[in-house]
Symmetry: C2
Subunit: 817 residues, 2 copies
Amino acid sequence: MYGRYTQELGVYAKEEAARLRDGGVRDGSGLRRNTSVRSRTADLLEYEKDPCAKCQVCASRCQKFLISRVGEDWIFLILLGLLMALVSWVMDYAIAFCQEAQKWMHGGLDSNMLLQYIAWVSYPVVLITFSAGFTQILAPQAVGSGIPEMKTILRGVVLKEYLTFKTFVAKVIGLTCALGSGMPLGKEGPFVHVASLCAALLSKFMAAVFGGIYMNELRNTEMLSAACAVGVGCCFAAPIGGVLFSIEVTSTFFAVRNYWRGFFAATFSAFVFRLLTVSNQEEETITALFKTRFRLDFPFDLQELPAFAILGIACGFGGALFVYLNRHIVECMRKQKTINKFLLRKRLVYPALVTLLVSTLTFPPGFGQFMAGQLTQHESLVALFDNRTWCRQGVAEEFDYISHHHAWKHPQVNIFITLILFIVMKFWMSAVATTMPVPCGAFMPVFLIGAAFGRLVGEVMATMFPDGIHGDVYPIVPGGYAVVGAAALSGAVTHTVSTAVIVFELTGQISHILPVMIAVILANAVAQALQPSLYDSIIRIKKLPYLPELGMGHHEKYNIRVEDIMVRDVRFITLNSSYRDLQEMLLTGHLKTLALVECRDSMILLGSIERLQLQSLLSLQLSRQRRLEYLRQLAQDNGAHDPLPSLTSDSTPSSPCAHVHLNSPTNTSARQVVRFLVSTQQIAEWEDQQLDQLVDFKNCKIDPAPFQLVEQTSLHKTHTIFSLLGLGHAYVTSMGRLVGVVSLKELRKAIEGSVTVTGVKVRPPLASFRDSGNTTSVSEVTELHKLCMRHRGLSLPREPKPPNHIAYCQNSEPLCE
Amino acid sequence: MYGRYTQELGVYAKEEAARLRDGGVRDGSGLRRNTSVRSRTADLLEYEKDPCAKCQVCASRCQKFLISRVGEDWIFLILLGLLMALVSWVMDYAIAFCQEAQKWMHGGLDSNMLLQYIAWVSYPVVLITFSAGFTQILAPQAVGSGIPEMKTILRGVVLKEYLTFKTFVAKVIGLTCALGSGMPLGKEGPFVHVASLCAALLSKFMAAVFGGIYMNELRNTEMLSAACAVGVGCCFAAPIGGVLFSIEVTSTFFAVRNYWRGFFAATFSAFVFRLLTVSNQEEETITALFKTRFRLDFPFDLQELPAFAILGIACGFGGALFVYLNRHIVECMRKQKTINKFLLRKRLVYPALVTLLVSTLTFPPGFGQFMAGQLTQHESLVALFDNRTWCRQGVAEEFDYISHHHAWKHPQVNIFITLILFIVMKFWMSAVATTMPVPCGAFMPVFLIGAAFGRLVGEVMATMFPDGIHGDVYPIVPGGYAVVGAAALSGAVTHTVSTAVIVFELTGQISHILPVMIAVILANAVAQALQPSLYDSIIRIKKLPYLPELGMGHHEKYNIRVEDIMVRDVRFITLNSSYRDLQEMLLTGHLKTLALVECRDSMILLGSIERLQLQSLLSLQLSRQRRLEYLRQLAQDNGAHDPLPSLTSDSTPSSPCAHVHLNSPTNTSARQVVRFLVSTQQIAEWEDQQLDQLVDFKNCKIDPAPFQLVEQTSLHKTHTIFSLLGLGHAYVTSMGRLVGVVSLKELRKAIEGSVTVTGVKVRPPLASFRDSGNTTSVSEVTELHKLCMRHRGLSLPREPKPPNHIAYCQNSEPLCE
């Protein structure tokens, strides 16, 4: 028995160490993730303890750092802005170069159609395959948008490998190649990730150089939240929209005091980004990226508003369809076992195939001629925001500038057909392309499709009312519709309203504010009612540990209470637990924290203890040193003057078997073997004794105030509190007595509705009974009554123990990943 | 003794009732306020209990309401937007009418300077005096901006009379008169208040008509927060800026899920507001309020950016000076006892005098000719945002429209002198005018001053570089500087960056985004370092119960812990408290909630009980019914068949003295008197007995999980938690033992630094000792040790009781008002 369990413990310890060292978890999607929810309260606690950790040594140094923290915030934000602007500019330059190269190849080979086709197709296939392979080898975490992961990280979940230098390199190079290929992919989501990577790496660098304040977690979270704003801001040169978009997309509750950080960093970054463009002689001064020149006096007629509203509603449906399509493609491929297996083995086949298909369809001399295939995203957008009306020729506009609108005109085909083909083809192409395992976002493609759809509606309106609605004074501006459509569709897909601000900053004109706002709000209303946002959809696909929002339509949530969802078999230790209980607890469960209660009868919650603390307690109790002491003691007592040198020098207490192997080949005398066996038995006895002792919590770090809920707390309130405080789990108490535990997992289940599947109905049968008490619920009274009686010294019939309080099964673990 | 305490209790109960009924508190500023902090947790609890309050009767009805809640949210927001747009439009109309009337009077009397002067001066004096008198009589709460109060209300503090119909009427009429007078006052702050009033009244109305969902507090808070956005949004027809401004100004932590409400309502409101203007034939279509026509191709040169940055920094200093001046004026008047007394008696003298002074100085034929005195705020702003350069005549601009820039030109005086005079005079005038007891804000005047300052800088730049910085191609646009200055100064005064968005929406152009952002951020950085925001300054002046922000520079706060600021003499009741203890507790303190602990030795916190609950417990114990029962019992036991009819029918148990008076004039026999005296004595004995009984908490509503902190929690974390959850107080526990309490008051003191005055230094002498423990602090270990010992049945030397645990003095009360 001795050998078994010590070995078990040894194996367990090794496993535990290994788990802690790299801790990778393989999930169904083939991605390797390292997730562990950290209570933000713990972070906060660390935060405050951090500056004083080595207080006696460097108190004055800490003080100095604290005082100069404001300055360092500024410096950090400026550096971050600078870095991101540089990254953004260099990437833009490289992407433009790639695209030019493709055009040049395509143009140079116009004598031979086949060669031209091969060049047109092979170029993106090579780039995308390289991008997929490179990220796969270097850092698979770099795949995809990055916004869902950032949302999860800002929620307080640590996805450690998402913020490493390797990921940064993989993301930047992979993204450059992916965008350079001309596929319908966006850079906005990845930029949020890149900016966060920059911030994290910069933090690490600053911490290594300056130490102190750069070390703590809470500050890093604040900086990450600013970094998200920088990412969007310098991607579109839209600081305000960037801040708002990043808040909407990544936060549940936003601390207004962090607002200025985002604004400052995003503005600085956008400024430097645009300055670099100017310094490169590309532009004369800093203006908007997609400058429009709509007339200011009469931007739109009031009678056009219904058309804008319809455009918004249509975009809402379109956005929901896009999210559905995107998720459906991923789920389909996952369900088809054979496809899935094949694709998992040959990871590069899928992106290559998709790229081949998309680039074949956009081949300009082929089908691409009907859908402006030769234009890049940027050129298409500039053309779509054009202030000329395409369907009517010969209208003299006051401004004239280089535009690519001729690409949209085909001698045989109507402009409407071109636009419709463009919208339909790009729609599914974007939905498919964004499922490729390369760093890419979906915002820009969606934005482009929205602009095209808006342009279509605008052109239809211009055809219907060729002289404007009120007569010949103010004709309809289809470009305005394009702006509205772009904002509405991207708003619908991402469930944000700040895309309105982004389009104003992108176009440099705010004259269409009212139609844009109306369309964006309507699109959001429709899309939110039908589908989750694209980012929430990806969170679900990737099964990231995130707490979903309480939807607007789910009002039955107000009727679910904590007692309906809580896990009642809480694992706890009591003040009079023995080390054996502790060991059992550690061996049978994987909880990160355990509750500490006064005793089994009172169950009064005293605090919570981290698993690691308990492990160290246990290993301290059975430590080598104490074992040696015991053996020395034993030896002295037995009068044996040989203190078993071989045993004490070589053996490790956790693996006495190894000791046997070590010693057996050596030339040991029979006496030594006997003595060894005796001592092994004695050690086993000693360990038994040690395990039977009561745990001494003196050297154990206890969280003395873990978050508590009561049974009557509603799901709505629980959700709010978990979101606000970034909790991972909370104990449910009733008059100080621990009665259950609720973790993110239970909460997520309840919100996603699977709680109704597992037996608990929306309103459980006994629910009305609960409300029948006049002022206080029945259970409360009973608990109180017991406490009173216990206190007043009356004898209380001892409750039957909960039959399997230890069998707190796997699925009730707070940290599901 | 019997008579004394029952009377005391009776008086106390009456006082309590009166306090609850109208609860007015008079503070130094002569304002009557009704403040009581409500724990938002309590609200949340109510929220969830609300739909099921009468569950057995109307469960299905509740369900129906819950399901249709989303729809009702939309309806509510649409109604709110409609209402506010109408109010805004009607008020604008009335204000414009008033201002026209003044101009007409002034114009019609131009033959006689004296008559003209009298007309010019008397008109605003009458209006302002009426406004001041009207609000004073009807609802003094309508005075001032309203944003500080809304900030406090959204923080979770109930300022009840701030959201009544009377206040609404007073605010709307008072504001119309005040703005119609042409004084340098703004409508933005009051509009936030008016919108909140609308929302509150609408909620009440809907609750009265539909019931159910409209009743609960949490929803009202959500709606109030949307209302603030509507207020700003429809005041400036700036929905996005309105939402952001209201978030920055009123929230500490913002729930992103409430974002769309604000956007929707503000957009709808702005739309209807502008639609009304169009329908009134004032404008052709919906455009910006202060439309600018700056060139789009080259809005500014990059070399101009330093000038914009300097403008921003100067505006930062200016903003801080404005806040300082405004507060200083109020404080000066308060300190001068004689002035203060005089003004308190003659409330209308001060506004009349200020108005007289200001209007005299702006009299157009007098000093006003040097500072464009005849222009209204709106006209001035239109002129300042003009795209022409004033200092150079004869520059042909492509656009030409009606502008008031000629008012700024004086035959003898340079345009620079006019602008400087305008800025200086308006600066102090606005600072003084906003201290008048009328409904008014300071945003618009400050915005105007900023625009004038920007125009001044712009004109200086245009004079220095008459051909533009790069040559004759692109001259400098001083109007752009005016836009930047307006955003920067208003941003500095209010400590917001969203003024940038507001100016874009106000002017309808976003081309100057970069200079505006740079100037606003710099202005904010400077102003935040020097002074609190105007609204925080007013909160301090009015002594509203608000938790101040943790400033950026106050990093010593990280070193203050809860144990340094907590009140150690917590008032508590134990499970074995007698009713006498309860009575004593209720008589000696004014706490809203009391802690419930297990027993005096363990001090384990079980929950908290509201004062009202305890009062009802006590009155139940000494209730008339029980008293009568006792008397009947007594009568039966004594064999007396006369059940003392007079005593039982007339007497109220709390005032037996009244009973004596009642009975003495009647023709009572000696026997009756004797019997009465006997029974009085018996009642006294009975009450004594009753009071000695242990409290039965069965029928008492206990909050079983009040918020707990630990001694080591830092001030920073405490502040975050209080802000996040809107707490009023939190208990400090150590391993479940109650050791102290922290309320808003202590926290505010600590943040404002007065904690250093009362003896606790920034870092107390023993602080380093705390950090010397390796893993757990000394006190924790001790506590745990005690618990362990207690639990394991070892005898523990009984601690000396805290000497005056009952003397939880007045100043440690959580609710300071």
